[in-house]
């Protein structure tokens, strides 16, 4: 097993040992999205529920009916549907930021992290995470702005070519490069987050600095693992959509809901896997080694001469008394 496999498998192992985190984040994601889609649902109910036309939606994905619905004045402005969804989407992002320190702590723990420890880690690292997020946002925003603009310029230049496919190819190449660079930045800040939590680092600049060094020291190894996990996410999404289209009957609302939610639940795994990778890497490379305690030199104790005495009576075992060998701490 090479080192990449080591990171991938140990990261995945952490995710699997802490499946409950995936479930809870999915539940949070679903709950918030439910709120976010309430306005849409309410408007749709008012128009569709008593109309025979809506039956067309049950036999296929009839774009005409959907567009017709969306452009009905009584359905409301598109903004009134998308804005709540975006707000609740933003809330999910915030909650992720709040609970993530607990996830890091849980992944690093060799035992099931008690709830109070989870939330303690969240509370203790909240302000640190906000600071990291702000710095990450600035760095990633600047990079994204520059890279996307650069890509735009290149693609625009390519449109002057008589090769019709060239702009698309360049855009895709550009996106790939941007993805790799942004993933590198994500690795950097994932490591910084892991270090902050696991090292209980108050000075986040130290975590960021240390993470920066490690990111570029082990870039190939880390980037490969992150790319692999992202590809898994893409495969999960495409697979889910394919199953949805091929196996779920157009009229089956329950089937659509179940497949959609399973897909979304599974889609959470790759990102948590990446965090597991970050924790695993931290444990392997970034954990500040503590000097091992040397066992004390054994000093022979000279026992005083004991007078020979008669053999003592055996002590009766009392039921319920602690067994020293089973004592736990």
């Amino acid at each position: 097993m090479n080192s990449n496999n080591g990171l991938l498998s140990s990261g995945l192992g952490m995710v699997m040992r802490n499946k409950r985190y995936i479930f809870w984040f999915w539940l949070l994601n679903l709950t918030l999205a439910e709120f976010g889609t309430a306005a849409f649902r309410r408007s749709a109910h008012a128009i569709l529920d008593h109309s025979l036309l809506s039956d067309k939606l049950m036999h296929s994905f009839d774009i005409g009916v959907i567009v017709d619905l969306l452009q009905r004045p009584e359905f409301g402005q598109t903004d009134s549907m998308t804005t709540p969804a975006l707000y609740f989407g933003f809330l999910f992002f915030l909650f992720t930021a709040i609970f993530l320190p607990g996830v890091f702590a849980g992944y690093a723990s060799t035992y099931r992290l008690p709830r109070e420890d989870f939330f303690r880690a969240c509370g203790r690292n909240l302000w640190r995470f906000i600071r990291i997020m702000i710095i990450a946002g600035i760095v990633m925003g600047v990079f994204a702005g520059i890279l996307f603009n650069l890509n735009g310029v290149v693609v625009k230049k390519a449109t002057e070519s008589t090769n019709e496919v060239l702009p698309f190819e360049l855009r895709m190449i550009g996106f790939t490069v941007i993805f790799l660079i942004m993933t590198t930045l994500r690795i950097w800040f994932d490591l910084a987050e892991a270090d902050t939590v696991l090292n209980d680092q108050r000075a986040i600049r130290r975590s960021i600095g240390s993470a920066f060094q490690h990111t570029f020291r082990s870039l190939g190894r880390l980037l490969t693992t992150y790319v692999v996990s992202t590809l898994v996410a893409v495969a999960l999404l495409l697979g889910g959509l394919l199953i949805w289209m091929k196996l779920v009957a157009p009229s089956s609302v329950t089937g659509a809901f179940v497949i959609a939610q399973i897909t979304l639940l599974l889609l959470l795994i790759p990102r948590f896997w990446q965090r597991g990778i970050a924790v695993s890497y931290w444990q392997q490379r970034m954990l500040i080694p503590v000097a091992a305690m040397q066992p004390a030199e054994a000093t022979p104790v000279v026992a005083p001469p004991v007078p020979v005495a008669p053999t003592p009576e055996p002590v009766p075992v009392v039921s319920g008394s602690p067994n020293p060998s089973e004592e736990t701490h």
Binding site: N29, L30, L32, A33, E34, T37, F40, R41, A44, H45, L48, D49, H50, S51, L52, L53, S54, L57, M58, S60, F61, D62, I63, G64, D68, L69, Q71, R72, A85, L86, F88, G89, F90, F92, F93, A97, F129, M133, A136, M140, E160, T162, N163, E164, V165, F168, M182, R186, L237, M245, S251, V253, A256, F257, A260, T263, L264, L267, L268, R271
Partner: protein, 684 residues
């Protein structure tokens, strides 16, 4: 020729001229002009006439009344995108009156910053160029460098730009030529025009992009004398064209590496010593001539056997779209099949289908025997956009090409009627609900598409108005295309599908190679159907009232409700319910369009009742006493009314069915969750 014969001939000519002069005075109000009318049937150098050639049609005789004959010798500079040409226009004055001036379209002057076309396009935010980034080298221009009228000398100085539509003095899309002497009725006149043209970077399906050129509306073209006056409008952002039928002989000199396609039939292709080649085309019974060049076209040729003879099909494809050439050919053949079967024969010997340069604003355009399609290198089979564009543009060979309506004033008669036949043909070829999209479970039919485009602008404009007088380009599109198609589909429901098909065929066969008016069209439908349809046309064509009927209330209550109140026991499930219900179904005409409708009322015992409502009052109510409750009511149960702006309120189901909403919500929920996950993926 002996002397006495010459004297006799001179006497005859003088007598004929005097006779014609007198007739002209009677016919034309311009007495002074008419008195000077001269016969120019015989110009110096030989007799002048319009050729009666049939080289380009599968007919032994001309099919149109030929008024113009254009002979153009053009040289294209592919580096500068300029055209220098000499044009000889022979015009046959069949107006019945003397003509003392001739207006010409100079369409390429539309692509100047102060032109009306650009004003309108900028105002509406429409068309093809972001004008803030519009550079002078991308403008278009068209200049007549000299103009001679045979027998009257050089009249270049008599040219004067006019702007009959909006008075914009900066607009140079129409130039008027005042003659030295009027042209007598039935006489011929020849104009010898030299012109220079700077083609624009493509706008409105004309111009260059990279090394591609589409030469549309590229030569000085005379207006149409119609209904007693010259009809020669300025070029507007939402207008198309109008011209007389005739014969075209065009020589195009282009670089030898260019692949060329054009209207009409190719007569010759000769390489010149200077690295150019001259390709000559001839067109019969057409009213425009377009051409294209690109060094990168890949060409497929095929033959289609039409009712009148073989048609040479020529497909000029972009290299990246070559794998779609079969799709283009198939839809062309299928469309030809349908048009020939339903409306009448295609008489021309050629049809050139051009897949234009990507991103060139040249997609989807019609010229006689020459159309442009529109596709992309990525086009799954389930997206039928290439089929839709080719079908639509081919349809214009009938509605515009042969039935040559005035596109400036009655745009709905070409675009709209064509959109209607597009729905019919594509429904038949690709399926009613899948003619636009049939991909991965998603479906969209062409008729839905037309209705949607109309519904968003339903109350903006009437169909019967000048194309340049619409509220916006959106309104122009929605009304001209979408509403007309919806109006004619609804008309099918009124007179019957078969009758409508018969009427359309009659209209085509009667008015092909002419310039019919809207009244010609509507009268044809009334004659064929035997129905007075004025009530419908007045609202749908001449007016802008919106059609929106709704089932406003459905209610069933026990007749003896007071007894029910005393004894609140619900009947057991499955037990026979002997309760008599008083049911009401109320219909509401929400807007001003009045039309009789059918209503179907269903009861919970399986019974169905059909009612008829004339729609004259604002609302109506049907009431029933039955041992059954109303389950649903639906206006237009056969779904023949395409014109209704809101189809959702055409029916009411008492027991709500939330499943469609749940289904849509599931999609929206998925998208919301996925987006929020993606946001969290990158941000934290």
């Amino acid at each position: 020729m002996t002397r006495w014969k010459i004297v006799l001939l001179a006497v005859i000519v003088v007598c004929v001229a005097a006779f014609v002069s007198r007739k002209t005075v009677t016919a034309a109000p311009q007495a002074a002009a008419a008195s000077k009318a001269t016969e120019t049937r015989s110009a110096p150098g030989g007799a002048v006439s319009i050729p009666d050639t049939t080289l380009a049609i599968n007919s032994p005789t001309p099919m149109s009344q030929r008024i113009v004959h254009y002979e153009i010798d053009a040289k294209y500079n592919a580096t500068k995108h300029t055209i220098d040409a000499n044009e000889v226009l022979t015009y046959h004055n069949l107006t019945g009156q003397a003509l003392d001036h001739f207006p010409f379209h100079l369409y390429q002057n539309a692509f100047q910053p102060n032109a009306t076309w650009v004003h309108e396009a900028k105002r509406d935010g429409s068309r093809d160029t972001a004008y803030d980034h519009w550079d002078a080298k991308e403008y278009g221009s068209e200049e007549i460098t000299s103009l001679e009228v045979v027998g009257q000398g050089d009249l270049t100085k008599n040219l004067q730009y006019i702007s009959p539509d909006d008075g914009n003095k900066e607009d140079k899309t129409v130039v008027d030529l005042k003659l030295a002497k009027p042209i007598a009725p039935n006489a011929f006149v020849q104009f010898k025009v030299a012109f220079h043209e700077q083609m624009p970077e493509t706008q409105a399906r004309s111009g260059w992009k990279r090394d591609f050129l589409l030469g549309g509306q590229w030569f000085p073209k005379v207006g149409v004398f119609w209904h007693g006056a010259w009809n020669c409008h300025q070029y507007h952002a939402t207008t198309e064209f109008f011209a007389d039928f005739g014969v075209y002989d065009v020589k195009l000199t282009v670089p030898q590496n260019e692949v060329i396609g054009a209207s009409g039939v190719e007569i010759s292709d000769v390489n010149n010593p200077d690295g150019t080649k001259t390709v000559t085309y001839h067109g019969d019974d057409i009213h425009d001539f377009a051409w294209t060049v690109s060094p990168r076209y890949k060409v497929k040729e095929a033959t289609y056997q039409s009712q009148m003879g073989p048609i040479k099909l020529r497909f000029l494809m972009q290299p990246a779209h070559w794998d779609q050439v079969e799709r283009h050919e198939k839809i062309t053949r299928d469309t030809l099949d349908h048009f020939e079967k339903w409306y009448g024969p295609y008489p021309y010997r050629t049809l050139t289908v051009v897949d234009p340069e990507p991103d060139s604003a040249s997609e989807g355009m019609e010229y006689p025997t020459f159309i442009t399609g529109g596709t992309s290198w990525f086009m799954p089979e389930g997206l039928h956009f290439p089929e839709l564009v080719v079908e639509h543009e081919f349809g214009h060979q009938y509605w515009y090409g042969m039935v040559a309506t005035n596109e400036f004033e009655d745009a709905w008669m070409d675009e709209g009627i064509n959109s209607y036949t597009e729905v019919k043909v594509l429904d038949s070829i690709l399926g009613k609900n899948t003619s636009m999209i049939n991909l991965a479970g998603m479906t969209l039919g062409e008729r839905e598409g037309q209705q949607l485009s109309y519904a968003s602008v339903a109350d903006r404009d009437a169909m019967a108005q000048n194309a340049y007088d619409y509220y916006s380009s959106n309104s122009y599109g929605g009304i001209t295309y979408g509403k007309t198609a919806s109006v004619l589909l609804t008309l099918e429901g009124i007179i019957g599908e078969d009758t409508m098909a018969k009427a359309m065929r009659t209209y085509f066969m009667k008015y092909r190679f002419t310039h019919p008016t809207k009244e010609d069209f509507m009268k044809t439908i009334e004659e064929v159907s035997g129905k007075d349809l004025r009530w419908y046309f007045n609202q749908a064509v001449y007016g802008s009232p919106v059609f929106d009927y709704e089932v406003s209330q459905v209610d069933s209550q026990p007749v003896n409700w007071y007894e029910e109140k005393k004894d609140k026991k619900e009947p057991k499930k499955g037990a026979k319910d002997d309760t008599v219900y008083q049911s009401y179904v109320s219909l509401h005409r929400k807007t001003d369009f009045v039309m009789p409708v059918e209503v179907e009322i269903r009861f919970d015992n399986g019974e169905k009742i059909r009612e008829h409502w004339d729609g004259h009052s604002r609302w109506t109510r049907f009431s029933y006493q039955k041992k059954a409750k109303v389950v649903s009511a639906e206006i237009d149960p056969e779904h023949t009314i395409q014109l209704d702006r809101n189809d959702f309120n055409n029916s009411f189901v008492v027991e709500p069915n939330p499943k469609p909403t749940y289904k849509l919500s599931t999609y929206w929920l998925f998208i919301t969750q996925w987006v929020s996950q993606a946001m969290a993926w990158w941000a934290v």
